[in-house]
C-alpha cells in the first residue's frame, strides 16, 4: 500500500511518462485516467486547410496552457492528443476512431470544413462522445453530443442584411465554392435580404480547383450589382481575389477571409477594403482579447495572427472546462447537462451554449480589412446573437 502511494505521488509530480509506461501494468486503468483529462484534437495539420489548422491547434494549446497554469480542470491536468485528419473524410473518421477507441479521450474537439465535421460526427455520435466544433458552418446538425462554438448562417446573415442594404447597397451578387456552406448561406442571404428590402441578383457556385473566374466577372459586370458577396473558400479564394483585383471590379466585396488567411496566403494588400462577418476580430478592444492575443504571440511568435475559428476553439475548451468543473464529473452526459449554465468571458465577449440546440450564443461583427490587407477594423457590432434552429430542438 505504501509503495502504491509513492508511485502515485511520483506520477503526479510529473516524474514522466516513462515511469507510467514502465509500471503501468500494476495500475488499474481508472487510476491513470484520473490523473489527466484527455482532449482529443482532430486538426487539418496537412491538406487544404493546413494554414487555418495550425492556428486552431495553437489556440487549443493556449487554452490548455492557461488551464494547466491554474488548476487544470477540477484538479486534473489537461492533456491534448493531436491527430492530423489531413482535411479528408477518411482521415477524420480514422482519427476520431483512434481518439475514442484507443486513446479513450474525454472529449473530441476540432475540424474545420464540413466534410471533416460530418466524418467526425459520424463516429462521435455513435460513440455518444462529446464533440466541440469551432468553425462557422451551414447549420443543419442536430445531435445530443455535438456542440458548435462558431456561428450558423442566421447568426451572421440575419443581423447583417439590414446593415448591408443601409450602408452598402440593395443588390447582391453571390460567388461561392460549390458545396454545402455557400449554398446554405445563399439561402439565408436571399431570405434575409428580401426581408430587409434588398435582393440577390445572381449566384454562381464554382467547383473546387477553379482556375479562371473571368467569365464570372463578366456576368457581374453585366448584372451591375451594388455588392459582390464571395464565399469562394480556401485556396480558391486566393485565385478569386487576385483575379477580382486584376479585373478592376468596383463593387464592395464581402469575402470569407480573416487575419490568418490574409497574412499567410494572400499577396500584400489584396484583401484591403473587403468586408467580412465574423464572431471575432483581433481588433476587438477588451482585456480578455488582449490577454488572448498576448498569450498566443508569446507562445507562437510575435508576428502571428489569430482568427475567429481559432478563438471559437479556444472558447470551446474553456467552456468545456467550466462545465466539467460545475458538473464535478467528466462523464459526457453530466458535462453536457452543466454546459448551458456556464458562461465564458471570451475574447469576442461573453459566450454561452444554448441548451435547446447546443449551439453557441456568439457575437456578430462586420469587419473591414485595413489598407495593409491583413487586419480588420470593426465597422459594425450587432452584439450577442442567439442561435435559432427551427430544425433542431434537443
Amino acid at each position: 500500500m505504501k509503495t502504491m502511494i509513492n508511485r502515485r505521488d511520483l506520477l503526479k509530480q510529473g516524474a514522466g511518462a516513462a515511469m507510467l509506461a514502465g509500471t503501468g501494468l500494476s495500475f488499474p486503468g481508472i487510476l491513470r485516467a484520473a490523473d489527466t483529462v484527455k482532449v482529443g484534437l482532430s486538426i487539418p495539420v496537412t491538406g487544404l486547410q493546413a494554414i487555418l489548422g495550425e492556428t486552431l491547434m495553437n489556440c487549443y494549446k493556449l487554452a490548455a496552457d492557461e488551464l494547466n497554469a491554474a488548476n487544470g480542470i477540477a484538479g486534473r491536468k489537461v492533456e491534448l492528443i493531436v491527430e492530423d485528419n489531413q482535411t479528408t473524410t477518411k482521415g477524420a473518421v480514422d482519427k476520431a476512431r483512434k481518439l475514442i477507441g484507443q486513446d479513450k479521450v474525454d472529449v473530441v474537439m476540432g475540424t474545420i470544413i464540413s466534410l471533416e465535421r460530418s466524418a467526425t460526427l459520424s463516429v462521435t455520435s455513435r460513440a455518444k462522445k462529446l464533440f466541440f466544433y469551432p468553425t462557422n458552418f451551414e447549420g443543419g446538425e442536430c445531435d445530443r453530443y455535438f456542440v458548435a462554438t462558431g456561428p450558423i448562417p442566421m447568426q451572421q446573415v440575419d443581423p447583417m442584411a439590414p446593415w448591408i442594404v443601409e450602408s452598402l447597397g440593395k443588390t447582391v451578387y453571390i460567388m461561392g465554392s460549390d458545396y454545402a456552406w455557400p449554398r446554405k448561406m445563399t439561402e439565408a442571404i436571399t431570405a434575409a435580404l428580401e426581408k430587409a428590402g434588398g435582393k440577390v441578383v445572381g449566384a454562381d457556385f464554382y467547383p473546387f480547383g477553379t482556375q479562371d473566374f473571368g467569365p464570372a466577372f463578366q456576368k457581374i459586370k453585366d448584372s451591375k450589382p451594388d455588392i459582390v458577396w464571395s464565399m469562394v473558400v480556401g485556396n480558391d479564394a486566393v485565385t478569386q481575389l487576385k483575379q477580382y483585383r486584376s479585373f478592376d471590379m468596383r463593387q464592395p466585396l464581402i469575402a470569407p477571409l480573416d487575419e490568418v488567411f490574409n497574412k499567410d496566403a494572400l499577396p500584400p494588400g489584396v484583401a484591403a477594403g473587403t468586408y467580412a462577418p465574423q464572431p471575432y476580430w483581433m481588433s476587438i478592444d477588451s482585456p480578455a482579447n488582449k490577454a488572448f492575443i498576448d498569450g498566443f504571440r508569446q507562445r507562437f511568435g510575435q508576428d502571428k495572427m489569430v482568427n475567429g475559428i481559432g478563438e471559437a476553439g479556444y472558447n470551446g475548451l474553456h467552456l468545456y472546462a467550466l462545465a466539467a468543473e460545475k458538473a464535478g464529473s467528466f462523464e459526457d452526459a453530466k458535462v453536457l447537462a452543466a454546459l448551458p449554465s456556464v458562461e465564458f468571458d471570451a475574447p469576442q465577449g461573453k459566450v454561452r451554449i444554448d441548451g435547446s440546440n447546443n449551439h453557441c450564443v456568439v457575437n456578430s461583427f462586420v469587419g473591414k480589412a485595413k489598407d495593409d490587407g491583413v487586419g480588420y477594423e470593426v465597422v459594425k457590432s450587432f452584439g450577442a446573437i442567439e442561435p435559432v434552429t427551427p430544425y433542431c430542438k434537443l
Binding site: 494554414i51 457556385f205 482556375q211 479562371d212 453585366d222 485565385t239 483575379q243 486584376s246 479585373f247 499577396p267
Partner: protein
C-alpha cells in the same frame, strides 16, 4: 460587342494556359509514349520559381525567365535518372512518374512550408480596348503564349532538331541507323516540354493559387486537351485547347460552372468516341 470581345479574351487566356501546359504532355505522351503523371509538377516548379525569385527581392520578369530553365532542369533530371530506363515499360513509367509527382509535391511542401504562396502580379489594372476593358496582365499572358507556340511550330517544321524529332517519332530504329542520337533527341524533347510547362506555371502564378499541389489541377486538363486534340501534334494541341478552353469559357458565362465542366467533359467523350485519335490525328499513327 463588349460581351463578345470579353468572352473571346477570356477564352484566349484559358486556351493559352491549356496549350502551354499541354505542350510537354503532347511530346511525352504523344511522341514518346510515356504517360508522365509528374507533368503537373513542372507547372508547380515554374510557379514556385517565380515565388522564390520574388521573395528574394527579384522581379516577376526575372522569375518568368528563370522558370523554364528550372523546369527544364527538373525535366532533364527526371528523364535521365528514371524515364530513360522505362521507355520499353510504359506501365512502369506511369507508376514511376506518379511516385516522382508525390515526391516533388512533398519536397516542395517541406522546402517552402504549407499553404498558398503569394505572388505579386507585375502589372495591375485594365486596359481600355475601345469596346471593353481587360486586365493588362492577361493580354501579356496571351501574347507570350502565342509567341511560344509559334516558336514551337517553327522549331519542329524548320530546324534540324525538328527534323530529328520527326524522324525519331516515325521510326526510332531507322533514325538510329541513319546516325541520329535518339537518346539525346528524347532527352532534349522531354526537357523542352518541361521548360514550356515551367513557363506556363510562371505565367499562371499571379492569377492562380501557388500551392505544392497546384499541378494536379493542370495535369488532368492537359491530358484532356491532348487526347481531344490528338496526341503528338502541335496543331492537335491547339485544336484541343481551343475546344476545351473556348467551350468552358462560353458555357461558364451561360450556365452554372459545375454543370459547364460536366458538359465539356461529356462533349469530349463524344468526340473521342467518333474521332478516337482526336480532332487532328496525324497520319500513320493508327
Amino acid at each position: 460587342m463588349d460581351l463578345a470581345v470579353t468572352t473571346l479574351l477570356n477564352a484566349l487566356t484559358l486556351i493559352s494556359i491549356l496549350a502551354l501546359v499541354g505542350l510537354g504532355l503532347t511530346i511525352s505522351f504523344g511522341l514518346m509514349n510515356v504517360t508522365n503523371l509528374a507533368h503537373g509538377e513542372f507547372v508547380t516548379v515554374g510557379a514556385f520559381t517565380v515565388y522564390f525569385v520574388q521573395s528574394h527581392g527579384g522581379s516577376f520578369w526575372l522569375g518568368l525567365v528563370a522558370a523554364p530553365v528550372v523546369g527544364a532542369a527538373v525535366g532533364l533530371l527526371l528523364e535521365g535518372i528514371i524515364l530513360r530506363r522505362l521507355y520499353e515499360r510504359p506501365v512502369g513509367a506511369i507508376l514511376a512518374t506518379w511516385g516522382v509527382s508525390l515526391i516533388l509535391q512533398q519536397g516542395i511542401e517541406l522546402t517552402f512550408g504549407l499553404g498558398a504562396k503569394p505572388v505579386v502580379p507585375p502589372l495591375d489594372g485594365v486596359i481600355d480596348l475601345g469596346v471593353s476593358a481587360y486586365p493588362v496582365y492577361r493580354l501579356i499572358l496571351i501574347a507570350i503564349a502565342l509567341l511560344t507556340l509559334a516558336g514551337v511550330v517553327l522549331l519542329v517544321a524548320r530546324t534540324r532538331f525538328g527534323l530529328d524529332i520527326r524522324t525519331v517519332i516515325q521510326n526510332r530504329d531507322m533514325a538510329e541507323a541513319v546516325g541520329i542520337n535518339t537518346r539525346r533527341t528524347y532527352a532534349v524533347a522531354f526537357g523542352f516540354g518541361a521548360a514550356v510547362a515551367g513557363l506556363a506555371g510562371a505565367l499562371i502564378s499571379p492569377l492562380a493559387t501557388v500551392l505544392p499541389q497546384m499541378g494536379v489541377n493542370y495535369l488532368a486538363n492537359a491530358f484532356f486537351v491532348v487526347i481531344v486534340g490528338g496526341a503528338g501534334s502541335v496543331f492537335g494541341l491547339i485544336a484541343g485547347s481551343t475546344f476545351v478552353g473556348g467551350l468552358t469559357s462560353i458555357l461558364n458565362y451561360q450556365i452554372s460552372p459545375s454543370l459547364a465542366q460536366a458538359l465539356v467533359l461529356l462533349s469530349a467523350i463524344v468526340i473521342v468516341r467518333f474521332r478516337p485519335h482526336g480532332l487532328v490525328s496525324i497520319g500513320g499513327r493508327a
